[in-house]
């Protein structure tokens, strides 16, 4: 009964999404207020029904209803409850439903927080979102129905893929989808603006918080995926340039560029058509990412079982949504006009350079991701593009972007003078260079690449400090506290996000420069020494789990030369009988200055095991940096000018008349 209700709720949601699109567009085109006003209530209704459908599926999973095909295929009664819940999005069907839920959620948020917008703009934004939502619900109903019954019911479920039985599964997909789908809001704003032919500073101010919010979720989502891969896959790597990772990273790059270009559009009215294009591209890349993952055109660790009908549907959907918006862009963008001029040295130029570099990096990642597809389609052979390509093109593009990122916020709008910038930043520059030259000796061994990476990160930090000092010097307030409070939250947010980049760079540089790993055979009682730590293998024992059995190793860790055990690590090798798979569960001692990482390979003979031991200095700074970036974003979001940016709800004419009286 519950699954049928869920299915029915989804059908109702499709009708509501369609109505939301049709009524909003008709209302906006004919100027009928009554029609436009309905779009909000319909959007709220749509959200409730999608949420109902999702709840129905989640209920079937949590109660292990194996008469639902999807549950029988992706869950098991012995699976712990939180994984039974997370298994709701462990399949293709379920993850599409999660996607739709997120979209409906963002639509709901827009319906609630759009009262300050001009009625026609709000209606069009909701209309676009309704259209996208209708497409996705139709996709689920036609090709990926998660509520399909299995009659007679299965005795037991086939279990969730053991790789997904991890706390990461509970949080990573929802966060990532929040980010992905969140770009649909600014996309809808862009389409609405193109339809209106009006694209001004107010439009940019309304779009900014939505973009920043989506970007924060995407940042956290990607970071969680990276951390998950790090501890779950047992290779100690944190980014693999896998097509699906790239599919989430490309919208992130576009979104990062968009945040900066929106700033220029809001403050200076320039970059308008570029901003609109980025808004379209960011969400289009989310859709393209979905296509790449769901259609099976690229191989990846994330690929689900594929069905050609799904690929064709999403491709057609892409043509309608992305092709339609780019055609609209080609038609209307020439009219939105250019903004005011700026000199080659100005904050605009720095932000332009940032955008160009991010866009080129995006193109490079896209080329690498799709290259195998291009070659195969042209019958030029099958190849795969690996990390060496991405590292070789990405790092040289990002290094100048980070260098400029440290200068941009200091430069003034419209026209800045290089000598002024030099005077303001020379100390910051000098300190960064000196510290970068010395620091590698402290960390171990000097190498030009490590020094360069550290210098980039330090340069961001020192220039932020210089900027803060200057702002405090020039602030008119009397006390330091008052001066600090006088700076806007969005400035703090921006600075914090930039510092997050510095933390990230520091982590990457030090890990790449100083990590050590050892892949060896260890018999019980044997020691190995790595990064100043001594690991003693004490042996293995069998331990039972809820739905697996595990061989658990015990490793005593000591500081080299000391007798005192500082940590005992227990890596596991788990066998999941239902899925017939073995999983490596690495044991990690997380630390701010280093991770110690042990994973079991294969048993060799007589109690000896193949063992991988890693010492990873400052690796957690990589994810810490991402968290700081996202925190910066949330801080900027809480700036008061977004909270109180309510326009009077009376039409402008009436307000003017009232004022005249």
């Amino acid at each position: 009964m519950i699954p049928e209700l869920g299915h029915f709720a989804l059908v109702v949601a499709l009708a509501l999404a369609t109505a939301q699109a049709v009524l909003s567009f008709t209302g906006a085109a004919t100027g009928r207020m009554a029609l436009m006003a309905t779009s909000r209530s319909i959007a709220i209704g749509q959200f409730l029904f999608v949420a109902g459908a999702f709840a129905a599926l989640a209920y079937s999973f949590v109660t292990s209803d194996f008469s639902v095909l999807n549950v029988a295929e992706h869950s098991n009664s012995r699976l712990p409850a939180h994984y039974r819940f997370a298994a709701t999005w462990g399949s293709h069907e379920g993850s599409m439903l999660l996607w739709t839920l997120m979209l409906a959620g963002w639509t709901f948020a827009v319906a609630l927080f759009s009262r300050h917008l001009p009625e026609r703009l709000a209606a069009r934004v909701l209309g676009v979102m309704g259209l996208v939502s209708a497409g996705f619900i139709l996709f689920i109903l036609l090709t990926s129905n998660p509520f399909e019954r299995l009659i007679p019911a299965a005795e037991e479920g086939r279990d969730l893929n053991p790789l997904l039985q991890d706390p990461g599964m509970v949080v990573h997909p929802p966060m990532l989808y929040m980010g992905y789908v969140g770009f649909s809001v600014v996309f809808a704003f862009a389409i609405a603006a193109l339809l209106e032919g009006r694209l001004d500073a107010a439009w940019a101010r309304w779009s900014r918080p939505w973009t920043t919010a989506a970007w924060c979720f995407l940042t956290v989502g990607i970071m969680m995926g990276s951390a998950w891969a790090y501890y779950e896959l047992g290779w100690g790597g944190w980014w693999f340039w896998d097509p699906v990772e790239n599919a989430s990273f490309m919208p992130w790059l576009a979104g990062t560029a968009l945040i900066h270009s929106l700033a220029v559009t809001e403050k200076r009215g320039t970059f308008r058509s570029w901003t609109v294009l980025l808004a379209i591209v960011a969400f289009s890349l989310s859709l393209v990412g979905t296509f790449l993952v769901r259609s099976g055109v690229l191989t990846s660790v994330h690929a689900f079982a594929t069905d050609p009908r799904r690929g064709i549907f999403i491709l057609l959907f892409l043509v309608v949504v992305v092709g339609g918006s780019l055609a609209l862009f080609a038609w209307r963008a020439p009219r939105v006009g250019l903004g005011s001029a700026f000199s080659p040295v100005s904050r605009e130029s720095f932000l332009l350079a940032n955008n160009v570099l991010l866009a080129v990096a995006l193109a490079a990642v896209m080329l690498g991701t799709l290259y195998p597809l291009f070659l195969d389609a042209l019958h030029l052979g099958k190849i795969s593009v690996g990390p060496p390509y991405f590292d070789a093109v990405f790092v040289p593009l990002m290094a100048p972007a980070v260098f400029l990122m440290a200068i941009g916020p200091v430069a003034s709008w419209k026209r800045a003078r290089l000598p002024d910038l030099w005077v303001r930043l020379r100390w910051a520059f000098g300190v960064a260079v000196a510290a970068a030259l010395v620091l590698p000796f402290v960390l171990g061994r000097w190498s030009p690449l490590v020094a360069f990476g550290l210098w980039l990160g330090l340069w961001v930090v020192t220039s932020s400090v210089a900027q803060l000092a200057q702002r405090l010097r020039t602030a008119p307030q009397a006390t330091l506290g008052a001066k600090l409070r006088a700076q806007s939250l969005s400035w703090y947010g921006m600075t914090l996000a930039h510092l997050g980049v510095a933390v990230f760079i520091f982590g990457v540089t030090v890990v790449k420069g100083y990590e050590t790993e050892r892949d060896l055979r260890m018999a019980p009682g044997q020691h190995t020494r790595i990064g100043g730590y001594d690991f003693e293998f004490k042996g293995t024992r069998e331990v039972p789990g809820p739905n697996y059995t595990a061989v658990e190793g015990t490793f005593d860790v000591r500081h080299a030369g000391s007798a005192q055990v500082i940590r005992t690590l227990h890596p596991q090798k788990r066998t999941y009988p239902v899925a017939g798979q073995t999983m490596t569960e690495a044991a990690i001692d997380w630390g701010i200055t280093r991770d110690l990482y042990v994973s079991l390979g294969e048993p060799v003979d007589g109690g000896a095991w193949g063992v991988r031991v890693y010492h990873k200095p400052f690796v957690d700074w990589i994810w810490g940096g991402c968290v700081v970036m996202a925190l910066g974003g949330f801080l900027a979001l809480s700036d008061r000018r977004y909270r109180f940016a309510r326009a009077p709800s009376v039409p402008a004419g009436a307000a003017a008349r009232a004022a005249a009286r």
Binding site: L277, V281, S295, T299, I312, L315, G323, F329, P334, L373
Partner: protein
């Protein structure tokens, strides 16, 4: 005019992408062509797993269509395909020769005793040298070899029911006929 053209560039790029995606949908990226297909199966001489005093060379299979299945007792995914192999041998669909790859002789024999032995015999490749000649990079792998000793197909990873029914068995039938 030029300005309008400029704004159309994203649309054109997207159109080209869609064309590639459409073609891409008709291809299977997982299908990796092997340089060994159409080439004679590399010769080797190895002792037999169950009878160390006797040897096996692919020459002995001349005139028969047969499968060479690379397996090992340490290989987890071999257990996945094993029931299919056992079933095939029970039905006498095609002779299967095993290549026990980088294994301990006792472990290999125990594993067969436990899971069933579908093989006419298994050649014992303890150092993995033959595996290198055959370009083995993911155990299990299965080669279909024709009457002239030419490799006609290579399955990387476990044989699935689908691969068996749609590819391997029809191919064996064709080569036999």
């Amino acid at each position: 005019m030029m300005r309008a053209l400029k704004f159309g560039i994203p649309l054109l790029v997207f159109a080209a992408l869609v064309a590639f995606f459409a073609v891409g949908l008709t291809r299977d990226p997982r299908e990796v062509p092997s340089p060994f297909i159409g080439k004679p199966a590399p010769a080797f001489t190895l002792t037999q797993l169950g009878a160390p005093e006797r040897v096996f060379t692919p020459e002995e299979m001349r005139g028969k269509v047969w499968l060479l299945n690379v397996w090992a007792s340490w290989c987890v995914s071999c257990r996945v395909e094993h029931p299919l192999l056992v079933d095939m041998s029970r039905k006498r669909l095609v002779p299967i020769v095993g290549l026990d790859y980088k294994d301990k002789r006792d472990d290999g024999l125990q594993w067969l005793a436990k899971h069933g032995d579908p093989y006419q015999l298994s050649a014992y490749d303890d150092e993995g040298k033959v595996g290198i000649d055959y370009g083995v990079y993911g155990v299990p792998e299965t080669f279909v070899i024709d009457k002239q000793g030419i490799i006609r197909y290579k399955q990387i990873g476990p044989i699935t029911q689908e691969a068996l029914e749609k590819t391997i068995l029809p191919l064996v039938k064709k080569l036999d006929g």
